[in-house]
Amino acid sequence: MTAPKTLYDKIWDAHVVHQADDGTCLLYIDRHLVHEVTSPQAFEGLRMTGRKVRAPEKTIAVPDHNVPTTLDRAEEIKDEQSRIQVEALRKNARDFGVEMYDVDDVRQGIVHIIGPEQGWTQPGMTIVCGDSHTATHGAFGALAHGIGTSEVEHVLATQTLIQKKSKNMLVKVEGELPPGVTAKDITLTVIGRTGTAGGNGHVIEYAGSAIRALSVEGRMTVCNMAIEGGARAGLIAPDEKTFAYVKGRPHAPKGDAWEDALAYWKTMTSDEGAHYDKIIEIDASEIVPVVTWGTSPEDVLPITGVVPSPSDFTGGKVEAAKRSLDYMGLTPGQKLSEIEIDTVFIGSCTNGRIEDLREVAKVMEGKKVKAGLRAMIVPGSGLVRAQAEEEGIAQKLQEAGFEWRMAGCSMCLGMNPDQLAEGERCASTSNRNFEGRQGYKGRTHLVSPGMAAAAAITGRLTDVRDLA
C-alpha cells in the first residue's frame, strides 16, 4: 500500500517528467497564462535563440496590467510605454501562434479571472503565469503559481519548469462564518495569523467546512492571497461546486472527455492521514470583518480594533510598524472605524468577480456613495461586466454613485492611469497595501467588497455589520 498523499503530492507526482538524484524535478505545465508585463523579454529570448513555443495550444495571452479602464477601448492607449507593451504582446501572440484575448474582446480581463471563466483552469492541472496571483487558480484543485520572466521563457520553450517540491501546509477553517464575514476576511485573517512569510517554502491547502461552504468565486479569493502569506500556491480540493463551475465553459472537456475528466478530478483530494509539515486551525465563527492598517498584508486587525503601537511588536517588526504608521499617516490608539478615506476601489483578481459585485450591490441597497468620495468599480473581465449589466447590478451601482469601468487590473497596482494621488487614502478590495502600490504615497486599506461598500457609504472604514 502506498503512503497517503496530499492533493499537492498527487498533482506533483502526476506531472514529474524527470527527477534528478538530488530531488530536482522537471515538472510538466498544463496551462501557461501570459500577460503583457512579464512576457516581452521571454518572447525576445525565444527569438534570439531561434526557439519556438512548444505548446501554443496550452498557452493563452491577455493584456490586463496596463490597460486603461476607461470606456474608449477602440482608441489606442495614450501612454506610450503601455501601448508598446500591449502591442508587443499582440505581435508575440501572433508570431508564436498563441491565442490572445485582446483589449476590444469581451472576454478580455484580468488573467486570473479569465482563465477560470474560459474553462482553461481545471482540477488536477499545473498552471503558471508570470504573476504572483496565479495562486488564484488553486481554488479548482490545480497547482498554480507565479513565476519570473526567465521561467516564462522556460515554459514557453519547454512546457516544463525546473522545480523542487515545496512543503505541505494545511489551513483548516471549520465552522460557520458569521454574517458580514466573507472569503476575503478568511484569507486576510490567515495572513494576519501566519505573517507574510509564514507560508514561505510551502503550498497551502485550505480545507474545512467553512472553505467547503464557500462558492468557487470565494475560494478563488482565498487562494489568490496565498502568496501574501508567503506560499507560492494555495489549493482547495475540487468538489461538486467546482465541477459545476467548469462544466460547459468554452475550454472545458466535452462529451466522453468530460466523464473521463470528472472521474479523474474526483480523485484529486488529500488522502485520509496524509502528512502536512505545518497545520493551522481556525474557527470560522471567530472570524470578523477585518481591515489592514499598515503597509504589509499581515497588518490585519478587526474593524472594531485600534491602530497598534510599534511597541506592540518585537524584532524587525518594531521598525517596520513605525515606518508603516508614518507612511499611512496614522496614530496608535486611533479607532480603525474612524479612519476617513478619499477613494474606494472595487475590483482586482482578488475581488473582481460577479459574486463580489453582487455583495457590493447588496450593501448599497437603498444607499448612496458619500458625496465627494471617488468610488470605482472595475469588473475583472468583460464578461463579468456584461453579466452585472444583465443582472441590473451595474445600473444600481452607478445610480448609487460608483464609476462603472472596463475590465483590467486598474488601481490594484496603478500601472495604468487608475492611481491614488499623493496622500490619498483608499478602501480597496485588492491584495497589496505596499508603499506606493496604488500610486506614489497612496495609502491602501485592504478590505472585503462588502466592507468597501460600507466605506463608500460613510466615507470612513466601517463595520459592514453596522449597516445591516
Binding site: T38, Q81, Q85
Partner: protein, 201 residues
C-alpha cells in the same frame, strides 16, 4: 548567464523586514520590454525625491555604499509581486549577492536565473553581517560560492547552504533552458503518456 564564483565587495546594510518587490522596483518601471537599464531606479521611492533628486539618507546614496555589490537585509526579502524586474534592477545596479534571514520564494528563485546569489542565514548571523556592513566602504566582505562561505572585513567566517544544482548553474553560468532542451525525449514521452491518460488536458 553571468557566472558567480567569488565576490569581494562593499556590503550595504538595509535593515528592514518584508522588503517587497514594489519597493525594489516600482510599477512604473515595469513598462520596459528590456531587461537592462533598471539599476538607476532600484529602490526608486526610497532613493529619490519626487523631483528626481537623491535622498541623502538612503544607504545606496551614501558615498560609502554607491558601489555596493552585496546587500544585507531583513527577513522575507523580495516578497510580493513575481516581477523579475526586481533582480534585474539589483543586478543592473551592481549587486550580485543578497543576504537575509529569509526570502520570498519567487524572488529567491528569480535571483538564480540572473547570476545573483541569495543567501539565507540565521538572524544572529545576519545581525553580525549587518554590523560589518555598517562599517562602510573600507569593510569589504568576501562571498565564496565554491566553498560556501562568507568572510567579513575582520576575518570572521560564516558557512552558508546552497542547493547543489543551483550552485552548479551559477558557477558555470548555465542556461536552464538549454539544459532542459537536452531532456526533450523525456518531455516527448511524458506528452505521449498525457495524451493517453488525460487527453482533455
Amino acid at each position: 548567464m553571468e557566472k558567480f564564483t567569488t565576490l569581494t565587495g562593499i556590503a550595504a546594510p538595509l535593515p528592514l523586514v518584508n522588503i517587497d518587490t514594489d519597493m525594489i522596483i516600482p510599477k512604473q518601471f515595469l513598462k520596459t520590454i528590456k531587461r537592462s537599464g533598471l539599476g538607476v531606479n532600484l529602490f526608486d521611492e526610497m532613493r529619490y525625491e519626487r523631483d528626481g533628486s537623491e535622498k541623502p539618507d538612503f544607504v545606496l546614496n551614501q558615498p560609502a555604499y554607491r558601489d555596493a555589490e552585496v546587500l544585507v537585509a531583513g527577513e522575507n526579502f523580495g516578497c510580493g509581486s513575481s516581477r523579475e524586474h526586481a533582480p534585474w534592477a539589483i543586478k543592473d545596479f551592481g549587486i550580485r549577492c543578497v543576504i537575509a534571514p529569509s526570502f520570498a520564494d519567487i524572488f529567491f528563485n528569480n535571483c538564480f536565473k540572473n547570476g545573483i546569489l541569495p543567501i539565507a542565514l540565521p538572524q544572529e548571523t545576519v545581525d553580525i553581517l549587518m554590523k560589518d556592513a555598517e562599517k562602510g566602504a573600507n569593510a569589504r566582505m568576501t562571498v565564496d560560492l565554491e566553498n560556501q562561505q562568507i568572510t567579513t572585513s575582520d576575518g570572521q567566517i560564516f558557512a552558508f547552504d546552497v542547493d547543489p544544482f543551483r550552485k552548479h548553474c551559477l558557477m558555470e553560468g548555465l542556461d536552464d533552458i538549454g539544459l532542459t532542451m537536452e531532456r526533450a525525449p523525456d518531455i516527448d514521452a511524458y506528452e505521449k503518456r498525457l495524451a493517453a491518460e488525460r487527453p482533455w488536458a
